[in-house]
């Protein structure tokens, strides 16, 4: 009897939680399309989410590509397929690793900051101040982040891919002696535009996920410094898990 009650209560709580995430997203999308954008805020947030993340994305991109180069070369040489290094590196970067790792890096750098910034605005009543001035806080605080993230994530992933391919080139060609013609030549043969679009769709959806979850966690933070730190941690954890789960989901659907 007790067990049923516990399960029931957990079920109700889960449904209510999921419902509030869903409602939050619906509200945000509604205000994105139904009112003029706050362009100034969007540009500020693009600078924060996008421009300021370039360095970390470039660094992680280069090293990821180099590891892929090393590891790919080792695996391919087992059956004499070293010539395939270029396509292997490029395909895995563009379809999978670029969007995923760049999204994870940006979550750690910008997503946590978004959650804590909005959380602090909640506990210092700044969100209430918007409401009581008859201004919609979604329009000012959430929508600009969503738009900025959706625009920036694909660009950051593209940067990551470029640096990664370059990293693979450095290792494969400069270090391990593959010819540059093989590395780049085979790439154009095996890579199609659908692979690129696949990566772009992924990045777009990751941008949406990160902005959505981080803003949600900040928006409904509990009170006090503890509340904000909890919201921040949870935002990063939930985003990271969701990015990987969603990544698997889209990849499996696209095959």
């Amino acid at each position: 009897m007790n067990l049923i009650r516990i399960i029931g209560r957990a079920g109700v709580r889960l449904t209510r939680n999921l419902g509030s995430y869903g409602l939050f997203l619906m509200n945000t999308l509604f205000w994105t399309f139904s009112s003029p954008l706050k362009t100034g805020r969007v540009i500020e947030q693009m600078s924060f989410i996008g421009v300021k993340s370039t360095l970390i994305v470039l660094l992680t991109g280069a090293f990821t590509g180099m590891v892929l180069g090393l590891q790919g070369f080792y695996a391919l040489s087992k059956f004499g397929g070293e010539a395939m290094l270029g396509p292997t590196v490029a395909l895995s970067l563009i379809r999978e690793i670029g969007p995923v790792i760049s999204a994870l890096m940006v979550t750690g750098r910008a997503g946590s900051a978004l959650a804590s910034e909005i959380g602090i605005m909640r506990i210092t009543e700044q969100i209430d101040a918007y409401e009581v001035m008859a201004l919609n806080p979604y329009r000012y605080l959430v929508v600009p982040n969503l738009v900025a993230a959706v625009l920036c994530f694909p660009l950051l992933a593209a940067l990551f891919d470029v640096l990664g391919i370059w990293g693979g080139y450095v290792v494969g060609v400069k270090l391990l002696g593959l010819s540059p013609g093989t590395y780049f030549g085979e790439m154009t043969v095996y890579l199609s535009s659908s692979d690129v679009f696949h990566g772009i769709y992924k990045s777009l959806s990751f941008g949406l996920i990160v902005a959505w979850i981080c803003c949600f966690k900040g928006f409904f933070t509990e009170y006090g410094a503890k509340g904000v730190s909890k919201a921040t941690t949870q935002a990063v954890v939930i985003c990271s898990v969701l990015i990987l789960v969603w990544d698997y989901f889209i990849t499996s659907v696209s095959f």
């Binding site: 101040a129 009581v132 001035m133 201004l135």
Partner: protein, 248 residues
Amino acid sequence: MIEILGLHKSFNGNPVLKGVTLTVREGELLALIGRSGIGKSVLLRHIAGLMRPDAGTVKIDGTDIFKLRGRDLVEMRKRFGFLFQGGALFDSLTVYDNVAFPLRERTSLPEAQIKDRVFNELEHMGMKNDWNKYPAELSGGMRKRAALARALVMGPSIMFFDEPTTGLDPIIGQNILDYIHRCHRELEFTAVMVTHEVQKVFGIVQQVAMIHQGEIIVCGSPEAVRQQNDPVFDQFVRGDSKGPVQYI
């Protein structure tokens, strides 16, 4: 006119408001007093529609504010001015931009006129020289005054003040009260002012209400409440540690 009808609110099972009923007549300034942590800010947030009650309601000019949606709610809130206890200044904006914010977002005034109104308001708060500072660079009292400027700049018809003079030195505090008094006469807003400065506000308010243990225990004109001889109210006004309210 603001009518508060049987308002109940609990947080995690702890009741804070236990049936608060209170009326603020048109153009009246009401002082809400009560000991710290008793629920004054919570009550104010309910009246402005920032919190939903468990039971009871608030009517402003006959409209139930918890039933308002969308455009009607926006129209109602356009009449509000709210001074939050902590100021609630936007910390990414300077003092000037904070005060100009509602003007820029809600009116189409040219920047020159906005500037005049903002500086006019800041001058009354003695904040004219701090216009380009960020909230983080201000003292608590300065934040309060900047926030007050922002709350008043739109010329609201319904004002909520949450402790406008707390944290200010006595002279500036008195100046602010004088300014509120003047704004009240000029704009004729209906207002609720949470305050601990019981003696000082008696001269400028039309009604005093005291909240205690979730209910309004004393309410009336300043002269009337002084003659009621309610022991809690008297202790509060005297600021006495001996009496029916014991903290320790």
